[in-house]
Amino acid sequence: MKRLLAIELQKIWKNKASRVLTLTYFILLTFIALIASIKFDLGIFKFHLAEMGIFNFPFIWHFNTYIASILKLFLAIVIVSMMANEYSYGTLKQNLIDGMSKREFIESKFLTVVLFASFSTIFIFVMSLILGYSFSSYTEVSIVFSDLKYLLAYFVKLVGFFSFCLFLGILVKRSAFALGFLLVWNIIEGIVKGILSFKIFPDSKSATSIMQFFPLESMSNLIVEPFTRLSVVKNLGTQIGLDNIKNYDVEFKSLLIVVCWTVIFVYLSYRLLKKRDL
């Protein structure tokens, strides 16, 4: 395992573009902390985001993982190109000739994906802990470490999404086209969702229950947007007569669906690699 990771990390780290993107990703993650400094002071109307409760435990776990997962696209580019480059440089062929098995090849890529996801999760954990202790109104241990399931959801979401990218990289073999395909797939899911919920099942919940099985939709269902959960926003909603009955929890079912997709994507990548002549 160490050998496979060492091989893959050398490939990524020696590549300038991948290195810059990876560093950018982690630097941008730390910028979440800068949200704390957002302050408006308009005479009578004072607005300080950090004091609105977004950094309160345990809400901070939800908020930070949600924001952080938007940035995953940076690493997605690295992962798609690490796969597609192997095809365009012809190095996939050379790696196999040098004595890597096809299984090891996929394993090394997947281990890297897991490593990136773990690293991001640990990073977010540490950063949220620091931010939380600086701004949260509650710092009792039992409250601080409640709702850690958002971190698990974040980890599963990243692994699932990166596995999808890995699969696209193998399928399409060109990084730009693979990223384009990702975008197109996103649009397709959007269109299907629209048709299902407005045309086919306008009055029932069937659309949502079907859509939850789509890869990207299932990944975004893992961490529901946290904004309407903020007390300020919630109060505003009640005032204008909106009842909020949204479920913000991380559901076991969503986790399971994403894990299934991860398995499917990794297996399909392996099958594809195995069947193709190089």
């Binding site: 091989i7 050398q10 440089y89 062929k93 050379q94 196999l96 000739i97 040098d98 004595g99 195995k274």
Partner: protein
Amino acid sequence: MQTILSVKNLNKRYGALQALKNVSFEIQKGNVYGILGPNGSGKSTTLGIALNVVNKTSGEYSWFDGTMETHEALKKVGAIIERPNFYPYMTAKENLELVCKIKGINYSKVTEKLELVGLVERQYSKFSTFSLGMKQRLAIASALLNDPEILILDEPTNGLDPQGIHQIRDIIKQIASKGTTILLASHLLDEVEKVCTHVLVLRKGVILYTGLVDGMSANDVFFELQADDNDTLMSVLSVHPAVKNVAIDQGKVLVYLKENLEAKELNRFLFEKNIVLNHLIKRKNSLEEQFLELTEKN
């Protein structure tokens, strides 16, 4: 003698095209093999299958008497396929170190092999800055990193300038002289003739010949003669008991034999018949002539 690679009844189809038909052969330790064949005859496909990058349609192959799995066996094989494939953004040294990681060996041989192919001064240059000849030499260094049991080269001089071709050939000869088993696929016949002891001839996916280079053609020895009057020469020759037939080619009379005949005996015989030769050579067919003969016959 240890069998390094054995291939049995290998078949490969690309859709409607049958690229390989019942290909069988064995590679023994210590020999230098050449795979000959025109472009598209299935040389690269055969090697690709043995090297785990092309899927076979049917048939079998095994490395080292089937004692290990293909990808494990490949760690003891050095192979270069068509064009050198490396990471362009890594330096020569880094690329070789990556190969070491894949093969599970330490970095101790990197410098030694770079020296062998004459790339030590450029070891810190990025692969993308290399000329084709240098890339090919780096590929050879990479194939030799683990001191392989067998070195497989697929068209190693393709696209190189004469100087580059010469350098690669020198390196190959140097490796062959150390007793390393070599399998060289090429459509360049003189290349194979210069280094190989055994040869495999492929055409349209079928093996036409396997065996020693010398044993490729039955009518081994022949004479090449020239006299002032070639017509008389030919008519005189045709009555000699040892002569099978005579042919004329570009002003030279070619004499094929039924039985052994020494050059001096032939010379004396013709002199007694009042024919004086300008030119007398006893020779064998070149590999090119043997190859053409073989591929035309079939």
